[in-house]
């Protein structure tokens, strides 16, 4: 016996689209509003910067000049900025569990639905 889906009215269709939309926008903007987004580089400027103390050789100085930066002080922050790659193992484990758990959940639920599909498609002789 093939499954007969109910017919969805206009209101239901609009409602479903809105649900997805709210979810999507939420996923993007919630981390943003909570200020949790993005890894920032932290500059460690050196005092009284010169091109030498910033480790830029003659060719590199020419390149900086061509990019419109002739004053080493202006390049100070760009050159000395570094990421911070220290992380907590707990957070890493949480992430790993979440990724693996997500895929396991999806594949298991999919399989349940898939069996139904196959049964209906190949069940009766065609």
């Amino acid at each position: 016996m093939a499954y007969k889906p109910p017919k969805q009215g206009l209101f239901g269709q609009v409602f479903d689209v809105l649900t997805l939309l709210v979810l999507t926008v939420g996923a993007l903007y919630i981390p943003l509003y909570m200020g949790l987004a993005g890894a920032a580089k932290v500059p460690n400027p050196v005092a009284n910067p010169t091109w030498q103390s910033l480790g830029q050789n003659a060719a590199e100085q020419q390149q900086w000049a061509a990019l419109g930066i002739t004053d080493p002080a202006a390049a100070n922050n760009i050159i000395t900025a570094r990421f911070d790659y220290s992380f907590s193992w707990v957070a890493l484990v949480v992430m790993a569990v979440l990724v693996v758990g997500y895929f396991v959940l999806v594949v298991r639920l999919s399989d349940r639905e898939y069996r139904e599909v196959i049964e209906e498609r190949f069940g009766e002789k065609r």
């Binding site: 093939a2 499954y3 889906p5 969805q8 269709q13 609009v14 479903d16 689209v17 649900t19 997805l20 979810l23 999507t24 939420g26 996923a27 993007l28 903007y29 981390p31 943003l32 949790l36 987004a37 993005g38 890894a39 480790g55 050789n57 060719a59 590199e60 020419q62 390149q63 900086w64 061509a66 990019l67 760009i78 900025a81 570094r82 990421f83 790659y85 992380f87 957070a91 890493l92 992430m95 790993a96 979440l98 990724v99 997500y102 895929f103 959940l105 999806v106 594949v107 639920l109 999919s110 399989d111 349940r112 639905e113 898939y114 139904e116 599909v117 196959i118 209906e120 498609r121 190949f122």
Partner: protein, 465 residues
């Protein structure tokens, strides 16, 4: 119906138009991705230094070669609009398909938004050089999305022919820049001393971290299979166009790294907005500057164009199967495009292009792509298990079977770790989004889906069911 246009006897059915050849597939694949060479990849240099940038370029190249091989095999067999979405539906199951469809729509819509942001940024830079400060970028962002959506609305052949032309020009611009710099057109010498002086500013972890943006060199090449329903001979054109595309990109990526790393101090390169254009500025040659401005512009437009094409195909396919409201599964009677999906995705792209910062949008796009590649690994294994090679005819069979899958899975895990370094919160937010969306689909939305109708391929029953 062999040529795909609706014949007289079947006027009651509307289908997408089968008009594309391998060159269009190349243009769709490379067009979406080439923008990665013009902006974004260089953040990998910022995350790990020059050497790390090059290693990331090649490791990501390996990852995407695996993706292209796996994709070519599956998609030359499951030739349907929606690409990986239709694959998942036939091989793994409906909920996975829904998730894959969302990955695709998110990855492409976000990439489209990122492109529009870049158009605005580039015009602002040029206006600044010409002495007009404080350009309002919004009209240009809106215009690029609106124009390309309109182009897509009007028909796929014109859209992808346009893409072919502008992609070819953008690709040639990279080659011309490389050759002119090589033959001394630059007033400033190439300098690679940072490689020996400061090889790995972050140590080995920097190489892993840089893989995050290394993906950006190639992200979107898998979009070629979205066009499966519009290609004249999918079993041949899709593998051919995809493989030619990945080769083009490997060449372009390596040349881009070489020119930019040689001409721009890595500390600047690591945070530049438009690296190839900056490299042209450093050469001091105004012809090259104009050329690379045009290249950057064309690459971003080609990419946004391909993204609209791909995202709307995925959205359309989901509507057609009632995973989404069936209203979206409509084909335009004259232009033969999924016109409702195209129009609906315009405001979504605008929300992200006008409201979110670039790196956030890019990360969202990369993460959706990454989840999609992870899916491909077990999809491939299940495909070969459920339908071994001798049960159905494949358009293309990739060599060394489990090896590309294993390599891909390993590289995906590494890439998750790379994203986690610095963007862990986004990763968790996105996973929560997909988990909630999955539960919503399984418990609410799936009741509207016809069960047996989802399996449309003329294949035998899968093994083990």
């Amino acid at each position: 119906m062999a040529n795909g246009t609706t014949s007289k006897t079947q006027t009651e059915r509307l289908q997408l138009l089968r008009v594309l050849g391998p060159a269009h597939i190349w243009a769709l694949g490379v067009g979406i991705v080439l923008v990665g060479e013009y902006m974004g990849w260089n953040f990998s240099v910022g995350k790990g230094g020059m050497i790390a940038g090059l290693i990331a370029c090649w490791v990501a190249g390996l990852l995407y070669t695996c993706v292209a091989m796996i994709d070519s095999e599956v998609t030359s067999t499951v030739a349907a609009a929606g690409g990986q979405y239709a694959q998942a539906k036939h091989i793994v199951g409906p909920l996975m398909a829904f998730n894959v469809g969302l990955f695709l729509v998110m990855a492409y819509t976000m990439l489209e938004a990122a492109n529009a942001i870049t158009v605005g940024f580039l015009l602002d830079t040029v206006a600044g050089i010409q002495g007009h400060s404080g350009l309002d970028q919004h009209p240009f962002i809106v215009l690029s999305i609106m124009f390309l959506a309109w182009l897509n609305y009007r028909g796929v052949l014109a859209t992808l022919t346009f893409n072919l032309v502008i992609t070819a020009i953008a690709f040639l611009a990279i080659i011309v820049l490389f050759l002119s710099v090589q033959f001394g057109a630059s007033s400033v010498p190439l300098d690679f001393s940072a490689i020996t002086n400061d090889p790995l500013p972050y140590g080995w972890v920097g190489i892993v971290a840089s893989l995050h943006f290394g993906l950006w060199y190639y992200l979107g090449i898998e979009g070629t299979c979205q066009a499966a329903e519009e290609v004249r001979s999918p079993a041949r054109s899709l593998p051919y166009g995809t493989m030619a595309g990945i080769m083009t990109l490997l060449i372009a990526a390596t040349m881009t790294w070489y020119v930019c790393s040689g001409l721009i101090p890595w500390e600047y390169l690591g945070q530049a907005g438009t690296p190839l254009f900056d490299a042209a500025r450093v050469t001091g040659n105004s012809w090259l500057m104009v050329l690379l401005f045009v290249g950057t512009m064309f690459a971003t437009l080609a990419s946004a164009n391909g993204c609209i094409n791909d995202a709307s195909r995925a959205w359309f396919s989901m509507g057609r199967d009632r995973y989404l409201p069936s209203w979206f599964g409509a084909v335009h009677p004259v232009y033969r495009t999924p016109y409702r999906a195209i129009v609906f995705l315009v405001p979504i792209a605008l929300i992200f292009a006008l409201g979110a910062p670039l790196d956030q949008v890019v990360t969202f796009s990369i993460l959706s792509g990454l989840l999609g590649y992870t899916f491909m690994t077990f999809n491939m294994i299940m495909f070969r298990n459920k339908w071994p090679l001798d049960t159905i005819k494949r358009g293309y069979v990739h060599p060394f079977h489990p090896l590309p899958t294993i390599v891909l899975l390993t590289l995906c895990s590494t890439a998750y770790f790379a994203v986690f370094l610095g963007y862990g919160t986004q990763l968790i937010a996105m996973l929560c989004f997909y988990i909630i969306a999955s539960l919503w689909f399984h418990f609410r939305r799936y009741q509207f889906v016809r069960r047996g109708d989802q399996f449309t391929m003329p294949w035998p029953k899968p093994r083990g069911y």
